[in-house]
């Protein structure tokens, strides 16, 4: 029971109580658990293919040093050899047969030596394999995947903001027959997760002719109950007098929406925009059933199909993963406050 103390007090004392120590310990463990896996992934993505298959793995990306030795066309890998006389020497490996390796002294290529492979250690140096990243853009259709993801995210977010703010405007600033029904209908869709209408949504997308088209991923989810709710609640706080005044000046309803209500809703729009970007960038199930052709893959789909291959090319896969998490991490770094207050306020994600 007494161990629970640290969880129960809401306000610490002036000096550091042992429960404070425990709290900070918990937080540090949390910091490690949440970030260490990501950092490990990022460091690993800078390893060469050879370094990746090394066991046990190292944290930093090491690669074996190589030397150019006279008389050999290719650079040879460098090892630290324990000699029979007890001294150590750096030598290059010419070739290896079973457990015996033929080594030469890089300075004196005529100085040859046969060594048991257990008597030597690879000489490593720190080097970042930027090629994992560079190759992505050259070798693969990675650019296409990136473009598809960006296109879907940007267009879908713009449409989401437009359509949902229009609906929110109608539901907050008018008084028409059926308004309540419409609002309830829209909010009720919160109860219908996409997973349970997967098959018929696929049919509709197919019938509209959007299968294997980026629009097939964009359109089905541009209307979101969360967005309508969030924006409506915000627009309710905009004084009606503003709108009345504009009507006096013969502004059209569209102008009132576009020039008055929309600009005033900027904070709520920003929150929805952040959410929309996260949803779209990370979306998986809908693209998975709509986009089956390689050239329409989003980053998420490309990652999935890459990791499913028989010989997973981890060095490219990890680099691709890192690129995929960069935008999200940037959003997190700069906009974390807005997201967390948005969630705490509306209880939505």
């Amino acid at each position: 029971m007494r161990n629970l103390n640290f969880l129960l007090l809401t306000r610490g004392r002036n000096r550091l109580h042992w429960t404070d120590v425990l709290s900070y310990a918990y937080l540090v463990v949390g910091l490690f658990t949440m970030f260490a896996p990501v950092i490990w992934l990022v460091m690993s993505s800078f390893k060469t293919e050879a370094a990746m298959s090394q066991f046990p793995p190292s944290f930093l990306p090491y690669t074996q040093k190589t030397v150019q030795v006279e008389g050999f066309p290719k650079p040879l890998p460098l090892f630290l050899v324990n000699k029979v006389d007890g001294t150590q020497q750096e030598m290059a490996q010419v070739n290896r047969m079973g457990i015996v390796a033929n080594m030469v002294d890089p300075q004196k290529p005529e100085d040859k030596l046969q060594v048991n492979v257990r008597q030597r250690e690879a000489v490593n140096s720190l080097s970042f394999a930027w090629n994992n990243y560079v190759d992505l853009f050259g070798k693969f259709t990675f650019g296409t995947y990136l473009w598809n993801s960006v296109f879907i995210t940007v267009i879908a977010t713009v449409l989401t903001l437009l359509i949902n703010s229009m609906a929110a405007f109608a539901l907050s600033k008018y008084n028409f027959a059926g308004q309540k029904t419409v609002f309830i209908l829209i909010i009720a869709t919160l109860m219908i997760p996409p997973t349970i209408i997967l098959v018929p949504v696929f049919l509709v997308i197919n019938q509209v002719g959007l299968l294997n088209s980026l629009w097939g991923v964009i359109l089905p989810a541009v209307a979101t109950p969360t967005g309508v709710f969030l924006l409506r609640q915000y627009m309710l706080t905009i004084p009606d007098e503003l709108i009345e005044a504009a009507r006096m000046d013969h502004a059209s309803e569209w102008r009132i929406y576009w020039r008055i209500v929309l600009p005033l809703s900027a904070p709520a729009l920003a929150v929805l925009a952040i959410f929309s970007v996260m949803w779209r960038w990370n979306d998986f199930l809908l693209p998975l059933i709509v986009l089956s052709k390689n050239e329409f893959f989003t980053l998420q789909l490309a990652l999935n199909s890459f990791q499913g291959e028989l010989n997973t090319q981890w060095h490219y896969l990890l680099a691709m993963t890192v690129i995929t998490l960069i935008p999200v991490t940037l959003v997190f770094a700069f906009l974390q406050r807005y997201i967390t207050t948005g969630i705490a306020g509306a209880g939505v994600k």
């Binding site: 629970l4 103390n5 969880l7 129960l8 007090l9 809401t10 306000r11 610490g12 709290s23 918990y26 937080l27 949440m34 970030f35 990501v38 490990w40 992934l41 298959s53 066991f55 046990p56 949902n164 229009m166 609906a167 109608a170 539901l171 008018y174 028409f176 419409v182 209908l185 829209i186 219908i192 997760p193 349970i196 098959v199 018929p200 949504v201 696929f202 509709v204 359109l219 989810a221 209307a223 059209s252 309803e253 569209w254 996260m278 990370n282 998986f284 199930l285 059933i289 999935n304 990791q307 896969l317 995929t324 998490l325 999200v328 959003v331 997190f332 997201i339 967390t340 969630i343 705490a344």
Partner: protein, 325 residues
């Protein structure tokens, strides 16, 4: 900016016309129209079509060319020779998926509530840099399920850092993702890792709404910390706890993407859950059995309805309880 101006000018006459015809209030239909159109096409219509699929057979995608099959799809899903032995069921994989989902949900939700509660309580203490620490636990929430799965797949692979640790302390490496017990454990762990921050945030918001004088009064009365927790914090946090409990349950029942990438549902069917069953029967397998997938999704819908009703009940009960206090 110019584009926006053009867009505005294009639509204004249209709305002026509408205003003339419909009047000042009913012009709102033009504003809510696009939204309702999208919802109708991609949400309400599919709900109806789903019913048609569930009661028709065959492999055709078009509803009109599918023969009516009555309750056959449900019989295929639910029939077992003996209900004490899953392997005698006609679709044993469905039952396994159902059982796995139940097991997963109970484990994941209870651990999720526990961890996010502890984290929220710690974050609610007087600590330095609360915003930073809150962000720390929230970061994985933003990552995509595929990225989350790949991060952990890389750590857990046979030559990964976990096995390096095991070898370093002298024990044998473990195939984390291809032994059914461990694979199941990691699906639970990874999904908690990825989503805990979200629930922590909801609970923290609830904790910060509890007025401080209650705690001061409790301190004056020399209430033990345990008593303060059970008599002040927990009762006042109940509405948020219910939200967290039900949201977590609704999401746990629908678990798919992380697990799909992390284990692919394996080894065998050890980590196959309902949504993956629906996806596989309807889309991934050679013959697309849309009817069976739709029937299974109705089973899922049933579970979700029950959970939502439970939430309403619980919320009402806790509100009534607070009034009675």
């Amino acid at each position: 900016m110019r584009f926006l101006a053009v867009f505005f000018n294009l639509l204004e006459p249209f709305f002026r016309q509408g205003q003339k015809r419909l009047g000042l209030q009913r012009v709102a239909w033009l504003f809510v129209g696009p939204n309702l159109f999208v919802f109708g096409l991609f949400c309400f219509l599919p709900i109806l079509i789903n019913l048609i699929y569930a009661f028709t057979g065959g492999v055709e995608l078009m509803p009109q060319s599918r023969p009516y099959s009555g309750s056959e799809n449900f019989e295929i899903l639910l029939h077992c020779d003996s209900y004490f032995d899953i392997s005698t069921c006609r679709k044993d994989i469905f039952w396994r998926a159902l059982l796995n989902t139940a097991k997963f949900s109970v484990l994941q939700v209870s651990l999720m509530v526990l961890f996010s509660m502890v984290t929220a309580l710690v974050l609610n203490r007087k600590i330095k840099g609360r915003g930073f620490w809150r962000g720390v636990f929230f970061y994985p929430v933003l990552l995509s399920p595929v990225v989350v799965a790949l991060i952990w797949k890389w750590l857990l692979q046979s030559q990964g850092v976990f096995n390096a640790g095991l070898v370093a302390i002298g024990s044998a490496p473990v195939e984390w993702l291809t032994q059914s017990g461990w694979a199941f454990f990691w699906t639970v762990f990874v999904s908690i890792w990825a989503h805990m921050g979200f629930y922590t945030l909801i609970l923290l918001a609830g904790l910060q709404a509890i007025p401080n004088d209650l705690y001061e009064a409790a301190e004056m009365d020399r209430a033990s910390p345990w008593r303060t927790l059970t008599r002040i914090t927990l009762p006042l946090l109940m509405p948020n706890l219910i939200v967290v409990l039900v949201l977590a349950a609704i999401r746990a029942v629908q678990v798919f993407d992380e697990v799909f990438v992390l284990t692919g549902g394996g080894p065998g069917s050890a980590t196959t859950f309902i949504v993956q069953f629906i996806y596989q029967t309807g889309f991934a397998e050679q013959i697309h059995l849309y009817g069976l997938a739709a029937a299974a999704s109705m089973a899922l819908a049933l579970i979700l309805i029950v959970l939502t009703l439970a939430q309403l009940r619980l919320t009402r009960a806790s509100e009534a309880g607070q009034k009675g206090r």
